[in-house]
Subunit: 173 residues, 2 copies
DNA sequence: CAAATTTGTGAGTGATTACTCACTTACTTT
DNA sequence: AAAGTAAGTGAGTAATCACTCACAAATTTG
């Protein structure tokens, strides 16, 4: 991948995440990335193709995270890691997730395939801990994490740490 | 308010909610509402003005809900009502909330003024019930409700009732 | 009833959109 | 070094965008 390709992807992800896919024009992306507009279409075929490439890269990064979860077998540790996830994101992850969350609301593009495997792990973990309704418990925790991710992505609250500890405490961690 | 005005507002809210503010053109709104495009601008000045009018109406409807919460003084009942909120929406409320939630992700328009008063009520309720950290508890519940509202608005899950009862059960209700 | 105001139309506006294309420049391969 | 391929440019395109405006129809007011 060329330097300019990487630059286009990086700038586009940041702009899409901050302002929304529809609100950012290919001409603005080209200017911000110091690249001719034509190059975007040479490499990514269309604006949608550019978005697809961004999502593809992010998806692969997420799968890396999942692998480390898979190797963990202590149920308490699995739950702890899931709860901690939204609280430690670097800037690139931050942009990716913000983009992904904003795309949920665009017509019919919602995709829950990312959280589905995590739900499986959580269900197993709650079952091992003898929770009454492990699947429902996993769904509820995931929904809570979705809410937490949303507030972190949108509001960057100051007392994230207190919130995290409070949630961990609710699950005796 | 004219019939055509109401029609414009209703159609625009539905389209904005389903496809996003940027993705819907004034020309499409006019066609869907069987109205000339000029009329939209005569009544609402700009596309942004149309959005503002929609949000204004929704805001007023929400304030009605808050009033009934205010009159409730049993802490358990307050918490129960907050938890039940996202599970009973009529179609118009559904469109309004979906629009509001999608707008969160547009650049810098996020507005938490709607949930702020609810947070106050909840904090008081948790305090009355001798929870250790009533404010943190209220924040956490609101974040969970935000996550639940998101899944209801996006996925319309089949077993909403089981989820609701599970959450109520977590708060001994 | 007449005047005035409001409601409504539809053809137009310049600006911006995603995208194309003929072309040059840089790098690889033989 | 010659030929072939990939990277990159920038001016152009038709379509669509939000918005305006001169005007007509309907309604309200004096």
């Amino acid at each position: 991948m060329t330097e300019k390709q990487k630059e286009i992807l990086s700038i586009a992800m940041e702009l899409f995440a901050k302002e929304g896919f529809d609100a950012v024009s290919t001409s603005r992306i080209a200017k911000s990335a110091n690249v001719s507009e034509g190059l975007i279409f040479k490499h990514f075929k269309s604006k949608q193709g550019l978005l697809d490439a961004i999502l593809q890269l992010g998806q692969e990064a997420v799968e890396g995270l999942l692998t480390s979860l898979k190797e963990e077998d202590s149920p308490k540790e699995i739950i702890r890691q899931v709860i901690q996830m939204p609280f430690d994101m670097d800037e690139e992850q931050y942009h990716f997730w913000r983009l992904l969350y904003s795309l949920k609301w665009q017509a019919d593009v919602y995709d829950e395939s990312i959280s589905e495997p995590i739900k499986e792990f959580l269900t197993q973990a709650f079952r091992k801990l003898n929770y009454g309704h492990p699947k429902l418990e996993a769904e509820t925790l995931l929904i809570l994490m979705d809410g937490i991710a949303t507030t972190v992505l949108l509001k960057k609250p100051k007392n994230q740490n207190r919130l995290m500890k409070h949630v961990l405490n609710k699950y005796n961690l």
